[in-house]
Amino acid sequence: MKKYLSIFNISFQQEFAYRINFIMWRVRNVLQIFLVFFLWDAVFKDPGRVVFGYNREGILTYVLGLIIVKSFVFSSKSMDVAGEISRGELSNYLVKPVSYFKYWITRDLSSKSLNLSFAFFETLFLFLILKPSFFIQTDPILLIFFLLSLILAFSLFSLLLFIVSAITFWMPEAGWGAHFLISIISVEFMSGALFPLDILPHFLQRIVNYTPFPYMVFFPMQVYLGKILDSAAVKGILISGLWILVLYFIMTLVWRKGLKVYEAYGR
């Protein structure tokens, strides 16, 4: 455990070594929030308007919440994994008594906690100037469900990323393309990060609900908004929990096979 605390620590410092980078990244986030806010604020100028079952307050909460949830779930340091495999840098970790998967999870948590703490103050600041009509969930049970679903979402995404990155073992050059296809297109599209999934036709929603994707963004958001309650929330958490088990199994299998064909390139 202490091992990973140390990794957490050095990762944190690394983040600060790129101070300018980090600040730019945060500025970009704030600008993004401004942009999204003014866009949807304009669309919903008429306070009585309801589109796709979302009123002004609902959609603003969805898009702003989206930014926060996305930055927690998707902003992943482990995007580098595919690159580390193809450049052979994976070797550095394999010869050490450390779990590569846990190493990256730790680095992710480190970067996320840093980003989150900044995001918290930024959001507070924006809240004070924009004074948006933001829906604040007060039901403690739903908040707990929301937090739980966020943790599950992060686990799902990390596992999926690790599985997709393993393609690099067999296709060192094609790894990035596959990465892009799966992690960007399917995850962004099917997770609800682009639009709320409940605007899809019902039968499509049904199908999508049995894939791991909606549990990465859409589901946590719906729980927060109070659109998914009690038994439905429990069902969703069970499904994503099940997916975590399945994906974990697939990941260990794929990595075990991948490491056997790993060529430790570099020379």
Binding site: I7, V95, K96, P97, R267
Partner: protein
């Protein structure tokens, strides 16, 4: 009467344990194949190889066997792509062997057991583990945690390594700002903090200037002596081999073609002998060409290389036909032989 029966498998196991207790590294009939996809040239070529990829099997190691005793320092030499690095990678558990038996300190490297990994280190001259944007000190701290080195042991090891490699002033400088030689020394510190008893060094002096090379060499020598560490070293640097290793293993095209004392390499592989003569009077250089390959002529001295088996005849011929003050027959220099090995020139064992 009570009979104890030990199952056969158990007996074999004991036998194996017994052998491996003396051997730090045991490799038997090791083979490693790589599958390589052949790419056709150009844009259309890459598209067509997407559809119908031609696979080729590269046999990086073929049926290689060798073993090292504890505390031995052995050099691997051979031309580029001979399989030296592949062997080190199999021994440190990075590559999965296609066939054969590998044991390091009683472990199967592939299992990557933490107890095993804590006892070895793989240092590659062209790979770095130091965090680029932070001072090396931070990577050291990280390794302390990863290898679970107790605090006081860590302090002791660190100050010792700092002393041996003379890097005290470099600890708090961002790694990106260091020179290659400084970085390499710090890489060594990072790799050895946990005091590995088995060390795989892949081209540790590559790209370094002469002074830095010497520092690394002195250090390897010291580390081996001080801790009885078992070390395998690959290098293209002649001095590394001559200064450090008594025993060398020559690998070519994935197979081991020589395993023995560095000094015996000459006897095994020298195809030629060197005749040095001093003339008492001017001679016709062209006539000398008839005797053997004239390597240098600088009156009164001439150096001629001749096939081993013909050396006596050549010497006699020289003595008979030329005004000779002095004549010696010498073995080929070890450097020349190693150079030939590096060039991948076909070297065959010579029968005596």
């Amino acid at each position: 009467m009570v009979k104890f029966r030990i199952p056969m498998r158990q007996v074999l196991y004991f036998k194996l344990m017994d052998e491996s207790s003396e051997k730090a590294i045991l490799v038997e009939h090791l083979s490693k194949n790589f599958e390589v996809i052949e790419k056709k040239e150009g844009f259309l070529g890459s598209i067509s190889s997407l559809v119908s990829a031609k696979k080729k099997v590269v046999r990086a190691l073929k049926n290689a066997s060798f073993s090292l005793r504890e505390g031995e320092l052995v050099g691997f030499i051979g031309p580029n792509g001979a399989g030296k690095t592949t062997a080190l990678k199999v021994l440190s558990g990075l590559l999965y062997p296609t066939a054969g038996f590998v044991q390091v300190l009683g472990f199967d490297p592939w299992d990557k057991k933490p107890e095993f990994l804590k006892k070895i280190a793989l240092v590659m001259g062209q790979k770095n583990q130091l965090w680029w944007d932070l001072p090396a000190q931070e990577t050291f701290e990280l390794n302390r945690a990863i290898y679970e080195i107790p605090k006081n042991k860590y302090k002791e090891n660190l100050s010792e390594l700092i002393e041996l490699l003379q890097v005290r002033k470099l600890l708090n400088i961002q790694v990106r700002k260091l020179s290659l030689g400084q970085r390499m020394r710090l890489e060594l510190v990072a790799s050895l903090l946990h005091h590995p008893s088995v060390l795989f060094l892949d081209e540790p002096t590559i790209g370094l200037d002469v002074v830095a090379q010497q520092k690394i060499r002195d250090f390897i020598f010291d580390y081996n002596k001080r801790y009885k560490a078992t070390i395998i070293l690959t290098s293209h640097n002649m001095r590394d081999l001559i200064d450090l290793t008594k025993r060398i293993i020559v690998i070519d095209k994935g197979g081991i073609i020589f395993d023995g004392k560095l000094t015996d390499l000459v006897g095994e592989f020298a195809k030629e002998k060197i005749i040095k003569v001093y003339f008492s009077k001017e001679v016709d250089v062209r006539k000398l060409e008839g005797v053997g390959k004239l390597k240098r002529f600088d009156f009164p001295q001439a150096i001629i290389s001749v096939p081993r088996e013909a050396s006596a005849v050549a010497a006699a011929e020289l003595l008979q036909n030329f005004p000779i003050a002095d004549l010696t027959i010498e073995e080929e220099a070890i450097e020349d032989i190693i150079r030939r090995v590096f060039r991948g020139e076909k070297i065959k064992k010579v029968r005596h």
